[in-house]
């Protein structure tokens, strides 16, 4: 607790960034303005009420002048203070809005011509820094995750899968020779092993998009569609444009993973028996769309880890991800828009 308090104390004592102040500090200005106004008000009061009258006005007229003067003071003070405080309020509003999902926002018109401007500028710089750090750390996490997935997939394939294969081969021999009364049991054990083997293989394939590394995005997506069609009750129609530019490996991976996650969601939640996957390009961007004809998203749906994963991956390559129900049609659509680097257009 005490260390926290110490840190807070140091933070408040830390001097502000030196950019060379060419203006009166905020506090001085407000104090100065208020002092001047008070002096003016008092002066007016003295002039109006002093026994040695300077003016020859009647009493009621004196009151009007005093009131008018006070009103003028108040209005002037408010107007002046609002000018000063307004940008700070706008900054506060922006600071409240900003979260990890939309770090791209910036305070407009931030220039070091006042303390509020300075604050906005510093705030913008901080957002940029957080955004960069966030992107880098997300990238690191995702790369580590992919490497880990690869390792687990390899272990599953090389160890568990092969050992189960050996067990299955052994069981096949045993089953062929057991007496008739235990044959049924032996066969059911053999079936269980077979299913485990299929599961291990499926999980390994899901973890590592092998075709992506070897054969590129178009073929990997075709294999993905085939696999969903073959293994699940989902007819996936895939279309991948012929004119895809060569893409960075990271972009291919993100597009593949988003497609995989979207199809998995369709298979799990949509109750749709068919889905479409298209990957097309325009001059400046790549567009992945996965749509189904099922129930659509419920109104109160909360994004799960799968959806957050898609968003994080999309943000990593500066892509935009939109997930929503299709207007005028049943089902849901996932859209991923990837801006293409000028060199690949």
């Amino acid at each position: 607790m005490s260390s926290f308090a110490d840190r807070r104390a140091t933070m408040t004592r830390r001097p502000t960034a030196e950019r060379g102040s060419r203006y009166l500090p905020l506090l001085h200005r407000i104090a100065g303005i208020n002092a001047l106004l008070v002096i003016a008000a008092v002066g007016v009061t003295i002039v109006v009420l002093a026994p040695g009258r300077i003016s020859a006005l009647a009493r009621s007229e004196e009151a009007v002048v005093v009131l008018a003067a006070v009103a003028l003071v108040v209005i002037a003070n408010v107007l002046l203070l609002r000018r000063v405080v307004g940008p700070v309020q706008a900054l506060t509003a922006l600071a409240r809005q900003v979260d990890y999902a939309n770090l791209g926002q910036r305070m407009p018109g931030a220039e070091p011509t006042s303390e509020a401007g300075e604050l906005a500028l510093t705030f913008n710089e901080m957002l940029t820094r957080i955004e960069t750090e966030r992107r880098e750390s997300t990238g690191r996490v995702l790369r580590a995750q992919e490497a880990e997935r690869l390792r687990i997939a390899q272990e599953l394939h090389d160890q568990v899968g092969q050992e189960l294969t050996a067990v299955l081969l052994g069981l096949s021999r045993v089953t062929a020779r057991v007496p008739a009364n235990v044959r049924e049991d032996a066969l059911s054990v053999q079936d269980a092993v077979r299913h485990s083997l299929e599961d291990v293989r499926r999980i390994a394939v899901e973890l590592r998009p092998e075709a992506l590394d070897d054969l590129g995005l178009a073929t990997a997506l075709a294999v993905l569609c085939e696999r969903f069609s073959a293994q699940l009750d989902l007819d996936v129609v895939g279309y991948v444009a012929h004119d895809l530019p060569p893409l960075p490996a990271e972009v291919e991976l993100v597009v593949y993973r988003v497609a995989q996650e979207a199809l998995t969601n369709v298979a799990r939640h949509s109750a749709s028996s068919r889905a479409e996957l298209t990957l097309t390009r325009t001059e400046a961007r790549l567009l992945l769309r996965v749509r189904d004809y099922g129930l659509g998203l419920p109104a109160d749906s909360v994004p799960g880890t799968g959806m957050r994963g898609m968003r994080e991956r999309a943000a990593l390559i500066g892509a935009r991800l939109a997930i929503g129900n299709r207007r005028g049609d049943s089902g849901c659509e996932v859209r991923l828009e990837v801006p293409l680097a000028p060199s690949t257009r």
């Binding site: 050992e163 294969t165 050996a166 096949s172 073929t219 075709a222 012929h242």
Partner: protein
């Protein structure tokens, strides 16, 4: 296993339960337990004679060059060169043994590459012993049993190839022998041979250094 056999090989058994002619089998798998399991399974069958069981493709071709074999049961993923490399090498031997790819993954991409590697069958490692034995008998009898290549996948694979490779791939998918393909294209068998290695490499997505 009642389908009609193509013109049989000299030593092939005509049916699943003909114990007189023994099929000489070579087993290639880099996992010791699987290799042992395969050997025992095949040795249990009266009509199989396991000639050798090795871990690598290089050892496999070395054995096959010395000892006559009828069927090679090969894992696709091996330590060094893969199973399809061995398949093409085996098919260049005068005896042209039958090749059965015994693989964990049996997707369309492998099926496409297997056609070019002239493998005769692909059997999933998820199949039980009896199914594997029947498949071995099937290829020994000269049958080919490769999974169908889904049209969209074939389309996306074709896009990775140049025009000549597409033509070769198409002819092989249609079941033409390499000799006929060479005649159709008007190239020498040697030229076609190098094209086929390149085609196989591309279909498998292997780096250029891995060719031949």
């Amino acid at each position: 296993m009642t389908s009609v056999a193509a013109p049989p090989r000299a030593r092939s058994p005509e049916s699943c339960d003909d114990p007189i002619v023994r099929t000489r089998v070579l087993v290639v798998d880099d996992h010791a337990a699987v290799r042992a399991g395969l050997c025992q399974l095949l040795a249990d069958e009266a009509d199989f004679d396991v000639v050798a069981a090795v871990a690598t493709a290089e050892d496999g071709i070395e054995i096959a060059e010395r000892v006559p074999i009828d069927v090679a049961v090969i894992d696709y993923q091996l330590g060094g060169r893969n199973g399809l490399w061995l398949s093409r090498k085996l098919k260049r031997l005068p005896t042209r043994p039958a090749v059965l790819i015994y693989s964990a993954y049996t997707d369309g991409v492998l099926a496409a590459a297997a056609v070019v590697a002239e493998a005769d069958a692909i059997v999933s490692k998820g199949k039980v012993g009896a199914e594997l034995c029947c498949a071995v008998r099937g290829v020994a009898a000269g049958r080919r049993d490769l999974p169908r290549l889904p049209p969209r996948l074939a389309d996306s694979l074709r896009r990775r190839l140049d025009h000549e490779e597409q033509a070769i791939f198409g002819m092989l998918l249609a079941g033409l022998e390499p000799a006929e393909v060479a005649r159709t294209l008007g190239v020498s068998p040697a030229v076609l041979e190098s094209r086929l290695w390149e085609l196989l490499r591309r279909l498998e997505g292997l780096p250029a250094a891995a060719a031949a």
